[in-house]
């Protein structure tokens, strides 16, 4: 029907037009109620939607068979009820029940608090991770103490202030700084040539670590070997021993690793260990020292050499460790511990300034 069609179009057009007009219309009484009714209608729609949603959900659950799954019998419900009493958690358990209890240790028969029981057992039975470490450390320190005492009586010169300042302080420091269980230790024990004999392993590390070295605690042989290979001066500030290798030729400040062999030969030819003790510092001292170096030294640059504490400071020559300035003579290897080889190679490269080791070797020479 044309009439309705035209109406239709009229309505359509006026609809949009109506909207624009609506915005201009002011608030009026009847509209308010209508509006309120509208609001309620919208609200009811929303609620109905929610209800319908729930119905669909439940219906699906029923048809799929999982609707009644969460039903439990009264008995189990009671069992797992939430507990709300003081001193007890929601499951009804007392949570600090074992706080004040004490247990008797099966080993030492002491009464230990429950929370400390496990660590105590570890120490007591000697089976934990830390207990072996602590035991070893204690063992080492005890031996060190006893050895240092005997040394002090023998070597009066060791008490000389030049060498021993800071030694007392170092003695304690040494203990704590040594890592008794480090893998290095076992390696050095393998390499050592045996002069240490049955001596305590920790001694091999006395001059591995630059800190904590005390000349008083080292034997004369060891000190000599140590000082003929390295500078050995203990810094006032850091209390560290200088580990620069004593070079035979003070002028030849060579950085290369090939310093090794040529120097060795030159040194060997020059030096004689049996010369008089009153040598001038620096070159001659160090060169003297290096004469006695055994040939067992192996030219090592960065590798570890076998420990031979017997040999007096290894051979002459740079020991393959780059230069440093002249300083002492002698070279690396041999005397010092093997593991310090790499240490020394690093440290000497760093330490440019010359540190003199005045007649160290001569002093200890005399002792023999």
């Amino acid at each position: 029907m044309t009439w309705s069609d035209s109406h239709y179009s009229a309505i359509k057009i006026s609809h949009t037009d109506f909207q624009m007009k609506m915005e201009d219309m002011p608030l009026s009484g009847p509209d308010n109620t209508k509006l309120e009714a509208l609001v309620h209608d919208i609200y009811s729609e929303l609620v109905e939607d929610a209800c319908l949603g729930l119905c669909f959900e439940v219906h699906r659950a029923v048809k799929q068979g999982y609707f009644f799954l969460d039903d439990t019998d009264q008995e189990s419900l009671k069992e797992f009820e939430i507990v709300d009493q003081p001193g007890v958690d929601i499951f009804g358990q007392v949570y600090n029940q074992w706080k004040n209890k004490e247990c008797e240790c099966p080993n030492c028969k002491r009464l230990i608090a429950a929370s400390r029981f496990a660590p105590h057992l570890e120490k007591c039975l000697g089976m934990g991770r830390n207990s072996s470490r602590i035991a070893n450390r204690r063992l080492a320190s005890n031996n060190n103490m006893s050895k240092s005492e005997s040394d002090q009586e023998d070597n009066d010169d060791l008490n000389d202030n030049d060498w021993s300042y800071g030694a007392e302080k170092k003695a304690k420091k040494r203990k704590s700084e040594k890592n008794q269980n480090s893998p290095r230790r076992s390696k050095s024990l393998k390499h050592k040539n045996g002069d240490l004999g049955g001596s305590i392993p920790s001694e091999t590390y006395k001059y591995n670590y630059n800190t904590g070295i005390s000349y008083e605690t080292l034997g004369p042989d060891e000190v000599r070997s140590l000082l003929t290979t390295q500078c050995g001066v203990i810094s006032e500030h850091t209390k560290k021993m200088c580990t620069r290798p004593s070079l035979p030729d003070a002028d030849a400040v060579v950085e290369s690793d090939s310093f090794d062999i040529p120097d060795r030969q030159s040194v060997m030819s020059r030096l004689q260990w049996e010369d008089s003790p009153d040598i001038s510092p620096a070159d001659s001292a160090s060169s003297k020292a290096s004469t006695n170096h055994s040939d067992s030294r192996m030219p090592k640059k960065k590798k570890k050499t076998p420990l031979s504490l017997n040999s007096v400071g290894g051979s002459g020559g740079g020991g393959g460790v780059g230069g440093g300035g002249g300083g002492g003579g002698g070279s690396l290897t041999g005397g010092s511990s093997s593991s310090s080889q790499s240490n020394i190679s690093l440290s000497t490269k760093k330490k440019r300034p010359k540190l003199q080791a005045p007649s160290i070797s001569s002093i200890y020479d005399d002792l023999n």
Partner: protein, 122 residues
């Protein structure tokens, strides 16, 4: 010139009724306004937001659990195998409407009014 649509309106069902044939019926200003507002509600996403808000509040206040328990009773009554959606709807909806707590109702009404005030000339 447009004719204002001020014909005596027919009684129309609620604006959301899908069976309403908007294009065929002559609607009252009232229903047109409703339609417009509803349209705006949907277009702006406000309806969805309101729906979610209502659902959340109903769950929070325990309305859903209450109604579910009622559903259980209906199902047990009708028999698990034979219950239909219509059964549930007819049983549950009136109760559901009644069980909505006042606070929730008030808040929702407030929001709807606010929306209308903002987006429709009243």
């Amino acid at each position: 010139m447009f004719y204002p649509v001020q014909y005596r309106g027919w009684t129309v069902c609620s604006p959301a009724d899908p069976s309403r044939q908007k294009s065929r019926q002559i609607m009252s200003k009232d229903s047109q306004m409703r339609a417009a507002i509803n349209q705006k509600l949907i277009e702006m996403g406000e309806r969805e937001r309101l729906k979610e808000l209502l659902r959340a509040k109903l769950v929070e206040c325990g309305w859903k659990d209450q109604l579910k328990a009622h559903c259980k009773d209906v199902i047990k009554e009708k028999g698990l195998e034979h219950v239909t959606v219509e059964d549930l709807v007819t049983e549950v909806t009136p109760k559901g409407r009644a069980l909505v707590p006042d606070s929730v109702k008030k808040e929702l009404l407030q929001r709807i009014r606010a929306f209308l005030a903002q987006h429709a000339t009243l």
